[in-house]
């Protein structure tokens, strides 16, 4: 059985507007944020994301796991890019070294070196702010949109009945998968299986994960077949659907959509005009010339 995200009614901007309006705004926000590497612009989006977060009514207790996971994930990749310099080299060409640490050994003539540069440091911060803005806005969606309205929301965004309902099911598949995964882990732990003590190389470790992956996958497949049978048995897809939930647009929804579109168009225009590329303060560059 499909389970839903931990949605509940809250007093927040997200729930004050029509879900279609919010998703439209979210789409504009997402594309606009991705258009920039300049931290000055990115801070604008980060501020919006924080305002939405603090207004969302989603408590730290209920969203802790999701945020810790995503913060850890972003932090890991930001640090990795900072240490290796990979990724950032696409948006900057010259690096200004702050410190350089060389290993006291060499590997086949190559001396491992850690370079701390102004560009790498700023790139890591920009990356953190950029991805963080998007992550905050994304995490809030399942906590704030009523699962009963997923289908009609996507239908209202122009998808066909079948795709809209498929999106509805897909949105609920993620928490369902997480539940099934946990049940399988519990069932195998009760048979003496210790996930945390897997040994061997990567291939061997993946092979030893079979007791988890196989039941989870099979369960997902069987679950999908059950869903198809249940839908077929109640005549899904034979005619245009009536949707019993009704969404109404208000002035506030139009204002929000207009705001999102303006942000997007402005972002595109700024991009065309050459603004928004990776930026490092001149003062720092001069300092380490």
């Amino acid at each position: 059985m499909l389970v839903s995200w931990k949605y509940r009614q809250r007093k927040s901007i997200i729930q004050w507007v029509d879900p279609r309006a919010w998703l439209t705004f979210y789409g504009c926000f997402l594309m606009s944020t991705l258009a920039f590497w300049d931290i000055r612009f990115l801070l604008f989006f980060f501020t919006i994301a924080l305002l939405v977060l603090f207004n969302s009514g989603v408590s730290w207790r209920e969203s802790r796991r999701a945020f810790l996971f995503i913060i850890g994930f972003i932090f890991f990749f930001a640090i990795l890019t900072f240490l290796t310099g990979r990724g950032g080299s696409e948006v900057y060409e010259v690096e200004h070294v702050i410190r350089e640490y060389k290993a006291p050994f060499s590997i086949l003539g190559w001396v491992p070196t850690l370079k701390i540069t102004v560009e790498r440091a700023f790139y890591a911060v920009s990356q953190f702010v950029r991805v963080g803005s998007i992550a905050i806005m994304t995490i809030l969606i399942p906590y704030s949109l009523n699962p009963a309205l997923y289908g009609i929301t996507f239908k209202g965004l122009g998808l066909s009945d079948k795709f809209a309902y498929a999106m509805d099911l897909t949105m609920r598949f993620i928490p369902t998968f997480a539940r099934d995964f946990q049940l399988t882990v519990d069932a195998q732990r009760a048979r003496g299986y210790e996930l945390e003590k897997l040994s061997g190389g990567i291939v061997e470790q993946v092979r030893k994960m079979g007791p988890i992956f196989v039941p989870v996958t099979i369960h997902a497949i069987i679950g999908s077949e059950d869903i198809i049978d249940a839908m077929d048995l109640r005549a899904f897809g034979v005619a245009p659907r009536t949707w019993i939930d009704v969404l109404e647009r208000h002035t506030r929804d139009r204002i929000l959509i207009a705001f999102g579109v303006i942000i997007l168009l402005t972002s595109i225009a700024l991009g065309i005009m050459g603004y928004g590329d990776f930026w490092v303060p001149d003062v720092l560059v001069k300092l380490f010339l």
Binding site: M1, D186, G192, P215, A230, D232, L233, A235, W243
Partner: protein
Amino acid sequence: MPLVDNNKNIMISSSPLVVENLSFRYRDRRGAAIHDISFEANPGEILLIAGASGCGKTTLVRSINGLIPRSYKGEMSGRVLVFGEETTSWKLSQISQKIGTVLQDPERQILGTKVLNEVAFGLENLTVPREEILERVDESLAFLNISHLRERETFTLSGGEKQKVALAGVLAMRPSVLLLDEPLASLDPASAQDTLDTVRFLADQGMTVLMVEHRVEDVLRINPERVMFMSEGQIRYLGELSGLSKVVNYREVKLPAEDIIERAKQDPAPATLSILPGAADRSHETLVKFEDVAFGYESGLDVLHGINLEIKRGDVIAVLGPNGAGKTTFVKHAIGLLKPKAGRVLVDGRDTKEASVAQIASTLGYVFQSPSHMLFAPTVHDELAFGPKNLHHPSEKIEQEVKESLTIVNLSDKEQDPPLALSFGQQKRVSIAAILAMQSRILVMDEPTAGQDYQNYMNFMNSIVQMPSFDAILFITHDVDLAVIYANRVLMVNDGRLVADGKPHEVLHDFEQLKANRLVPTSLLDINLKRYAETGRFMRAEALAHFQSL
């Protein structure tokens, strides 16, 4: 009375449902799942379909509701006629408007996020106007007395509520024929009785009801007009209720205790069960101890409150209680899968907070409710060897453990089969055998008999309680008779609290308490209570048939 309705050329009539010479073989299987099935179902009739696991009941249901051959491919012959029209060329949507199906597990049927959306789903698909949908939804909910659930999220419902919501979704489409595939399998006795009363009422209103069910004794209470008994894909008996007990082996189908006693008198007395022979001559020491245990999930809802309990050597404990009472949460604490929010749980004197689940598993084996969450190996043999290997048993011992466990669950012939290709009932038995093979001293089973046919579960329960390796057994069940026959101690859990703990006759004689905990006295419990002064203990019906007071 003929055992089988041999009229193979039933006249096409306006009967809601006629099945003519129906046979089906699944594409990837050798033999036919059903063979030459013919019968007619009448308006206002409840036709109970019984038989062992794998006898073809579910295949028959799928053939009638159109999933066969549309979703399940294979070779099909014969015809299904609904109101005189053959359904072969019908779309599934056409069939679903005439024939409503409630699947065995409501969890597999419910799609909607909220009850309102779930009940409306079929009508939405048929483009019924919105106002009419809302009217019909409210009508269905009111009919089943669940209007108060209208705005609830479906995944928060109890098992009984889910079953009713699934039924409401089908009834809203106003079918003429209702197919119910083991509707009682996951329900507590009181919810099962509610469901049965509803089914009787629907039939009395003129609906044709086909009900596949293992819990035959429960269904007999609503006087089904006819009973079909299937075996190996064929009808072995089709006729009135009164004839069933004469043609069916009382070991195959669970009949009322009076009938079993009557029939069993003619057979030799059953062997006396030697319960936990390995624990009989040892001290009554404490194996598991719950000290003021409380638990709640992150959502803030408390599930367990102040549980104090000791599981001692020699205990065979049945845990009874309504759906959603906290029974599974309670036993998950014993193996350390859940840690108490307050209080502590000690297994062999060791706090579960200080031991890993794997460490506890060598002492306490836990059989999960659903086998599909654990089966993964290419063969049944490998599946059973997995646990003992994790516990570092010697390889020669593992082979012996695997063989013994397979014998107990009657699956020795399936040792090299892939477990995922077995039927649900067989998978469940593999999951039990997988834990038996670990040779833990304490066995905990969560609804071990759900979805199993009577003969199979009685056989493996007989074997399990007589295994010398166990010091204690605990099982969660909705089947009161299982507690009557096998338990020497009964726990009753309700609303996260331990509301009763004692010997079976002490706990189960209080019918008011049973009712408060959504349990329903069975004929076997009745007879045992009546004869308790004479027997001094609870006994199975076969044993009662041969009991003679000194």
